[in-house]
């Protein structure tokens, strides 16, 4: 029975999401508890999977009992379990925050539809992390694409609709590229399962080199659009800044990264290593990530809207993850994957803190934030920790991942990338420190007409995330162990 846990996590979240709209009609007060309860169960099950995989090693789950070339297979390895834990923990904290915050950002009628979309998004991300089948991957990618547009447009603001449709169209373009790539891979190998495709591709590379190269390029473009790799990031600032704060947090914290993880799986588990002699795709990703890191930071510096600045900062930070993928040394990839969790913690915390500031004062503009640290010490304290971690001050978790990226770059004898990491950290400092200094030591705050007290339920997730950033900054060993097992492909 216990071996069914991986599929039961997804099924539980799906079942909860199907039930919530019914509850909305017939027993509205139960919608939120069901949502939170299913997320908690998913989190506990993910931890149980971590224990299980430690005992049994990686294992496969055959849906319908059909073995791989015929049926769909879920493959539970350390990478999948790592992503499950990241998704379920961060997602749970964001939803606890959202329980109160959404009441003022979204009208009551669509509240339970929002919960539905949120649960579907979580389920689809877990599906992407678990699946071992190309077409199943596409289906889950499509679910998460629609759900992530839906949680943007649920807010009654016309900018959200506009951002949402921009995101949807580019996202559909990415899905189209992914489906075409799946078709090409299927055409030349006759399989959809990752392992069988990986076994067939080295032979196919001799017969149909162009097909594989084009398919690889389409995969990179498709997942690049969805994870906002630098020149394809145009949808991100609008979408992440106009959305409700919990949506921004989950989109920036988790959704863009799960596509990067899907790309990692494809690049290192499916495509044969010889392909990198034909087309230097890793170098291309590496160069793009350098552009992303620099351009994201520079764009973020000139923004005056708090959430927009955080959104541009996400573009820079996803660049670090892709830098880890592109360097593909042992420690660099460790750093990149570690940054997935670290950035998920800090960026969702920063977005939630920004949401708290907006909730309490209604201020979005950075210039108006002077002296807010006196009014909201806990929120700005957490914000400070997140900002320090973004810059990469030792003692925060952001430092650990950048440290490993730099070490990996040195291992591969590429000191240029160390310089890039240092330079971008400096740029991060340039736009984060003034906010903090203004907030705590700035002249007195503008007379704000309304100042709402922040409910404790909203503050607690932010503080937990802040504590997590500090904890994993000083004691990264459990994460490092997990990630170093996850990258042994």
């Amino acid at each position: 029975m216990y071996l069914h846990v991986p599929v039961l996590i997804v099924v539980l979240l799906l079942a909860a999401s199907y039930t919530v709209p019914l509850l909305d009609r017939f027993r509205r007060s139960l919608a939120l508890p069901i949502t939170i309860l299913s997320l908690i169960t998913a989190f506990i099950s993910s931890l149980y999977l971590l224990y299980l995989i430690g005992v049994r090693g990686p294992f496969a789950y055959h849906l319908g009992g059909w073995p791989p070339p015929w049926g769909i297979e879920l493959y539970i390895d350390y990478l999948a379990v790592y992503m499950l834990i990241v998704i379920s923990s961060i997602g749970l904290l964001i939803m606890i925050y959202g329980a109160k915050d959404l009441l003022h950002e979204i009208s009551r009628e669509v509240l339970s539809w929002y919960y539905t979309l949120y649960l579907l998004l979580m389920a689809s991300m877990m599906g992407i992390a678990l699946t071992n089948d190309l077409f199943n991957l596409f289906v889950f990618v499509e679910i998460s694409a629609i759900a992530s547009c839906g949680i943007i447009s649920a807010k009654a603001d016309r900018r959200c609709i506009e951002a949402s449709i921009k995101y949807l169209i580019l996202s559909a373009l990415g899905s189209g590229c992914i489906l075409l790539a799946v078709a090409m891979i299927y055409m030349i190998t006759g399989n959809l399962n990752f392992d069988y495709v990986a076994a067939a591709l080295p032979d196919a590379l001799k017969l149909y080199p162009y097909n594989i190269v084009i398919a690889l390029g389409l995969f990179v473009v498709g997942f690049g659009v969805k994870s906002a790799l630098f020149p394809l990031h145009v949808w991100l600032p609008d979408a992440h800044s106009s959305a409700p704060s919990p949506s921004s947090a989950i989109l920036s914290g988790l959704v863009i990264k799960i596509y990067a993880v899907a790309l990692v799986k494809l690049l290192f588990r499916v495509f044969p290593a010889q392909i990198y002699d034909v087309i230097p795709i890793l170098d291309i990703i590496l160069f793009l990530s350098v552009f992303a890191v620099m351009a994201g930071s520079i764009f973020a510096m000139v923004q005056d809207d708090l959430k927009r600045m955080l959104a541009y900062s996400s573009i820079a930070q996803i660049g670090y993850i892709f830098m880890g993928i592109g360097l593909f040394g042992g420690r660099a990839l460790t750093g990149g994957l570690l940054h997935i969790f670290n950035h998920a913690m800090m960026k969702s915390m920063l977005f939630l803190a920004a949401g708290l500031i907006i909730y309490a004062t209604g201020i979005r503009n950075l210039k108006d934030l002077k002296g807010i640290g006196v009014r909201m010490p806990w929120t700005m304290g957490a914000f400070t920790i997140g900002a320090l971690s973004m810059v990469g001050i030792p003692g925060t978790s952001g430092f650990i991942s950048k440290w490993f990226l730099a070490l990996g770059a040195l291992d591969l004898n590429r000191p240029f990338y160390v310089a890039i990491i240092l330079l971008s950290s400096l740029l991060n400092g340039i736009y984060y420190f003034p906010i903090i200094i203004d907030a705590f030591f700035g002249t007195k705050m503008n007379p704000v007409s309304e100042f709402r007290d922040v409910p404790a339920l909203m503050l607690i997730p932010v503080l937990i995330l802040a504590a997590g950033v500090i904890f994993f900054g000083f004691y990264p060993k459990p994460l490092l162990d997990l990630v170093s097992k996850a990258i042994s492909f």
Partner: protein
């Protein structure tokens, strides 16, 4: 030019790729959102055509098993996958259209450039 006979052999794939480029172009260059959605559908349809023609076998029957042996059937897997693909495309289209309905109610236009202009005027 040995390219041409190969293209004629693979004319279905060729047509699918041409349609893909047309859809790609429509999606990225037109500013009218409805046209963008049409482009998206052209692109999806081109991939469906491509996928289904992968499964075709010359002289094959539809994969509904009949009495007696020796019939050649086409590959059933691409058709089954495309059934899923079509539903996905329909869902995306439906959601996009509902967004456009709302966008039209708010801005009075479905043109992305005009919407950008309206917003720029407001922010000034």
């Amino acid at each position: 030019m040995e390219l041409i006979p190969k293209l004629i052999n693979n004319s279905y794939y060729f047509a699918a790729m041409i349609l893909f480029v047309i859809g790609f172009h429509t999606m990225l260059t037109h500013s009218n959102l409805i046209k963008k959605i049409i482009g998206m559908n052209i692109m999806d349809t081109s991939i469906f055509l491509f996928f289904v023609s992968i499964g075709y076998v010359r002289g094959g029957r539809a994969p509904i098993i009949q009495e007696g042996a020796g019939f050649l059937y086409v590959n059933p897997l691409p058709s089954a996958l495309i059934l899923t693909g079509i539903v996905v495309a329909v869902s995306v289209t439906a959601f996009a259209l509902s967004l456009i309905v709302k966008l039209y109610a708010h801005y009075g236009t479905v043109d992305a450039d005009e919407i950008a202009l309206i917003r720029a005027r407001e922010e000034r």
